[in-house]
């Protein structure tokens, strides 16, 4: 699913479902995978930037089923991969199989359920496989090699490595923890690995790709532009993502 890829994240419905689709069409020019966050009332794994985006979308009346419409709209224009990022409760509430089936019908390629640990996910993984949806599970710097194997086993899309402890959000630098985890994951996982949390600069992207990451995930650095510019964020998003995508190349000058 990843091959020296930039994965870009935005929150569905922020500032509106229509604009989400517009932003996706900007993102797809520079990224191989678009990650769409489903707004949730209590997003404990997220920092304030993405939490605020969820609240903005929910205040505007965003419903979970709107995300399927957005993906369907996107499919009319692009073949690029789309993965949903969600907390488990909206999935559980809708009914796990129904959620997965509707995702597949809309053209979703994969799902990340951030608070569903790999070792309690057998039924979910089976249902995803049945409907042709890739599973993506998260590993953190404190994940043991043994658990990395479990996470890799449950994943059919890629393994998402968090660069640090804590929540999503921009960080000044990508620390040693990220590179240690990346090197362990590369030696253990049969899936490609993507690194997220804190990635916000071209040099972050370059350093991670050079260290062997198959993909780099950028969220808060894009979502903050939507917070700042709202409906008019398109060109700001384009500028930032173009800049970040340069990090995929070896040459800083290119």
């Amino acid at each position: 699913m990843l091959e020296k890829s930039l994965v870009t994240f935005i929150t569905a419905g922020d500032p509106s479902p229509k604009k989400t689709l517009d932003f996706m069409l900007v993102l797809e020019r520079y990224s191989d995978v678009i990650e769409l966050g489903i707004p949730f009332s209590d997003p404990v794994a997220d920092g304030s930037v993405i939490q605020k985006a969820s609240i903005r979308a929910l205040k505007k009346g965003f419903r979970v089923r709107d995300v399927f419409e957005i993906v369907r709209g996107f499919r009319d224009h692009s073949e690029k991969k789309v993965v949903l990022m969600t907390y488990y409760n909206p999935v559980f509430r809708m009914g796990v199989e129904k959620f997965i089936r509707l995702s597949a019908e809309a053209g979703v390629d994969g799902i990340i359920a951030v608070d569903l640990p790999a070792d309690s996910s057998r039924e979910y993984v089976e249902l995803c496989t049945k409907h042709g949806i890739r599973t993506i599970f998260i590993a953190s710097p404190n994940t043991t090699d043994e658990r990395l194997r479990v996470i890799d086993e449950a994943s059919t899309g890629f393994v998402y490595l968090t660069s640090d402890y804590g929540t999503t959000g921009k960080r000044e630098r990508i620390g040693e923890r990220a590179f240690d985890l990346l090197s362990r994951a590369k030696s253990i996982c049969r899936n490609p690995v993507g690194v997220g949390f804190g990635v916000s600069k071209e040099e972050h992207v370059r350093a991670l790709i050079q260290a062997g990451a198959d993909g780099v995930i950028v969220g808060s650095a894009i979502v903050e532009l939507i917070e700042m510019y709202g409906e008019d964020a398109d060109k700001h998003i384009e500028e930032r993502v173009r800049e970040l995508a340069k990090g995929l190349t070896d040459d800083p000058g290119s």
């Binding site: 949730f40 009332s41 209590d42 997003p43 404990v44 794994a45 920092g47 304030s48 939490q51 609240i55 929910l58 419903r63 979970v64 907390y87 488990y88 409760n89 909206p90 999935v91 559980f92 509430r93 809708m94 951030v114 608070d115 569903l116 640990p117 790999a118 309690s120 599970f137 998260i138 590993a139 953190s140 710097p141 404190n142 994940t143 043991t144 658990r147 996470i151 968090t162 640090d164 402890y165 804590g166 929540t167």
Partner: protein, 388 residues
């Protein structure tokens, strides 16, 4: 790890290793004679255990029907049952080599009890509290600060307990190497609901010994209020095998169940996953968690501990509601008949206890867990009575 299908460990991956560490250390320590002796000493000499089982003669006479006993957790140091758990977990944290406690609090009782345990055991304490609750519970905020704790107002979401829990979880996910998250109720990911229950089960053990001594038999019913449900599980647990004893949890009915302004997760919620557990939650059709309402900030939580969900589904415990108005009436009644001002939380249990007593005979005894005292609620009660 599960209570039937309920409970579990639904958290971001980085919290799994600290939860495993906690489980391992707890399993080891709970078998340790030294740890039990240390905790027992703290509970007796510092917290004031055992608490009396008090026969409320005047209230029983006035209510008519069964004799009402009150388990006086309100007499504990800190003024509520919360101290049983905070001393236990703070001691656990210390044995784990952690230097800092993170807590979240609604009414402030758990925050105060954590601040006390932290001060006593020499641990730094940071308490997250919804900005709304910081306003509503200013006295407890002041108490926590006096005790050396740092109170962090949470301005996100509904600015109440659930948002404080979200912030505490975020903090823990970056600080678990040196911090212990001291959860205040039988909620959260495994092993928290079990650990908190174990530390609170002292309540039921004492009730059993005391009622057998006074009455010579077990009570008809044990009644306790349920927000997250720690005092209720504490009171119930010893009696789960004693099928003849009815276990009744009383949830916050708020303005009314029909109005939607309540905090009755078992009576009016749906199954869901939040704060690390599968349990019952107040939520909309999309699984978005709803805001709650209760006159008692301590019951104002949209979920409930997974063991309660299981006790309800298996039919072993019953769950009912008491409205704000009923709780307030019980609050006044106990104050006037017995000279005991209960916490608004406990007043919910009392309201239903009085109702049940009326239906039973004079020969029957029931126990209401008086989980805390009402001093902290003076501001709220004064405001309600002045506007009445």
């Amino acid at each position: 790890m599960r209570f039937g299908e309920f409970g579990g460990r639904f958290v971001p991956e980085m919290l799994i290793p600290p939860l495993e560490e906690l489980e391992e250390k707890y399993e080891e320590l709970k078998e340790s004679e030294e740890f039990r002796r240390e905790l027992d000493y703290l509970l007796r000499s510092y917290a004031g255990r055992p608490t009396p089982l008090y026969y409320a003669r005047n209230l029983s006479k006035k209510t008519g029907g069964a004799r009402i006993y009150l388990k006086r957790e309100d007499l504990l140091h800190s003024g509520a049952h919360k101290i049983n758990n905070t001393l236990g977990q703070a001691l656990l944290a210390k044995h784990m080599g952690k230097s800092r406690l993170i807590a979240e609090t609604g009414a402030g009782q758990h925050g105060v009890a954590t601040a006390m345990a932290g001060a006593k055991l020499g641990l730094k304490v940071d308490v997250y509290m919804g900005a709304e609750d910081v306003e509503r519970q200013r006295q407890n905020v002041f108490r926590m600060k006096l005790l050396g704790a740092n109170v962090i107002p949470v301005k996100s979401g509904s600015r109440t307990l659930k948002d404080a829990i979200n912030e505490a979880l975020r903090d823990w996910s970056r600080s678990f190497e040196h911090s212990h998250y001291l959860i205040g109720s039988v909620v959260g990911p495994h092993p928290y609901p079990t650990i908190v229950r174990d530390f609170q089960s002292v309540i039921g053990k004492e009730i059993k010994a005391q009622i057998l001594e006074t009455e010579g038999c077990l009570p008809k019913a044990i009644i306790a209020c349920v927000g997250g449900g720690s005092n209720a599980i504490g009171a119930f647990h010893e009696f789960i095998e004693d099928r003849e004893v009815r276990l009744i949890g009383v949830e916050a009915g708020g303005k009314s169940i029909e109005s939607g302004e309540h905090a009755a997760s078992l009576s009016a919620g749906e199954k869901g996953v939040l704060h690390g557990m599968l349990s019952y939650f107040l939520q909309d059709e999309d699984g978005q968690i709803l805001d709650t309402h209760s006159i008692s900030a301590g019951l104002d939580y949209p979920g409930v501990g997974p063991e309660h969900a299981w006790l309800m589904e298996t039919g072993r415990a019953e769950y009912v509601t008491a409205s704000d108005g009923e709780a307030l009436s019980a609050f006044m009644e106990l104050s006037r008949t017995e000279g005991i001002i209960p916490a608004l939380e406990s007043a919910h249990a009392l309201a239903y206890g009085m109702k049940l007593a009326e239906q039973l005979d004079r020969d029957d005894a029931i126990v209401v867990n008086l989980s805390g005292r009402g001093d902290k609620d003076m501001g709220i009660v004064m405001e309600v009575l002045e506007n009445a």
